[in-house]
Symmetry: C2
């Protein structure tokens, strides 16, 4: 980066409209001057080129990511990852705080991730390892998201349990158990005091135990267990699936009397969880 | 793992119905006996518990992942990652080949990822670093997927270019350019010989350049450029968005005369790409 360009990727918090930025905290290791590495990180994740050839314009004030703060945590003589690309006498461990204008992607998770954890971030000159540690969102961004439907307090209200831990457990064997055997174990666990038996994360709508068959049994037994114990009970059904099947699975599970669902949003994409929340 | 359990997580290829398994290649580093670590990896990603208490049954033959081959690549005195959990005099770099029965998840990408790159894989006793290197799929699994709609040959046919490289480039500035300025650059690039100008991965349907406005201009100019140059041209529009917006973006882009689309499937989830392909 040319010295003349450096000030365009730096700012003080007081100079920015913070409602228009998300605040990113990165941990990184660099083999070159840490500040230059951090400014390159800002450039690569925003306006890598900020003007047209032959046109007097500058997109950086509105669209450029800005370094707010840089802390050198440690200077080492070895990098985290051994590689022929990672060389140099010194490796700097740093914490960088960056303000990124959210107009660049809007309130969209996949587009935000493409920007803050995408190609640019992993090809920054000088940076030999990087990890996104935190994101702070302003209200203008968050207001587009619905957030949890119940939250912890809502879950406690539904179970009518406020004065003790909630007991939660995976039915085992986790893989391969037939629906009726699975349901029998869940039923025993409710009677034994469990609040929330659940599917394993590896078992959802499987050919050896379809979600429809399993949740039908569990929905019925849950009501029976509630009648016997006099307590509210949950069954947590794993509806993780291809994104065009998630809503269908949800509707099957709920129609069958299952009253809690889990979704592995790392595997489906976070956006699938958001889409389900909207319905 | 008890010695008596070890043979249940091992197999020879000749003993398995390979059409019922995906073959996984992992690179891992272990601080304990490599074979035991590899067998633990098989166990954690499949039948962590393989029978009910008090029932004479065994789910491992049908549902257990099986170690086919283990190669010790290197023995080191330092781990890849410095951590208080990673200790011991020796660290083994290994390559493990594992057959995993696909009945455990079915032809579903999120469920497969949950199993082969999920919680179990990252909590294997003895393993201090792990990376999935390859998956081989049998025909019984692949037949559920449609694969590419056109493929390289189909793209060459559509562009009527068979005897030279295809020229492909991102319009820059990549972030912040207004639709009419963006379209003017794309138009110039077509006249200058580019086959496929494209949106940056960081720009999709943004408030400063909506997909609708941008693709309308680009669809019209693409046809004009084709008429002037006498060549077929593509514009590649970035339709990456929340999963419930992808199909809508696709339809807008196509209706506007844009004839190629890109989707960042790392950010949306691979399943979103599969869902789009089905329509």
């Amino acid at each position: 980066m040319k010295p003349i360009d450096k000030p365009h990727f730096k700012a003080k918090k007081s100079e920015l409209d913070l409602e228009q930025h998300i605040i990113l905290t990165y941990f990184f290791e660099s083999q070159t001057d840490p500040e230059e590495a951090a400014l390159n990180l800002c450039q690569e994740q925003s306006t890598a080129q900020w003007k047209r050839v032959g046109v007097d314009e500058d997109f950086r004030p509105r669209h450029g990511a800005k370094l707010l703060n840089l802390e050198i945590l440690e200077v080492k003589d070895q990098p985290f990852f051994q590689s022929s690309f990672n060389k140099g006498p010194k490796f700097y461990n740093c914490k960088a705080t960056i303000a990124h204008p959210h107009i660049n992607f809007g309130p969209k998770i996949p587009n935000m991730l493409t920007t803050i954890l995408g190609e640019g971030v992993f090809y920054v000159p000088g940076i030999t390892a990087i990890k996104l540690m935190n994101i702070d969102f302003p209200e203008t961004f968050l207001k587009n998201f619905q957030g949890p439907q119940f939250g912890l307090e809502g879950i406690r209200n539904l179970l009518a349990v406020h004065d003790r831990p909630l007991f939660f457990g995976v039915i085992k064997p986790n893989v391969g158990l037939a629906p009726k055997d699975f349901a029998a174990l869940a039923y025993e666990s409710w009677l034994g005091g469990l609040d929330v038996p659940k599917d394993d994360e590896m078992m959802a709508d499987a050919s050896y135990s379809t979600l429809a068959e399993r949740t039908k049994l569990l929905g019925e037994l849950r009501k029976k267990a509630e009648a016997i114990t006099g307590e509210k009970k949950f069954f947590l059904a794993n509806i993780t699936d291809e994104v065009d099947k998630i809503q269908i699975n949800h509707d099957i599970a709920v129609a069958n009397g299952v009253n809690a669902i889990m979704l592995n949003a790392t595997a489906t994409g976070l956006s699938a969880a958001r889409a389900l929340r909207k319905t």
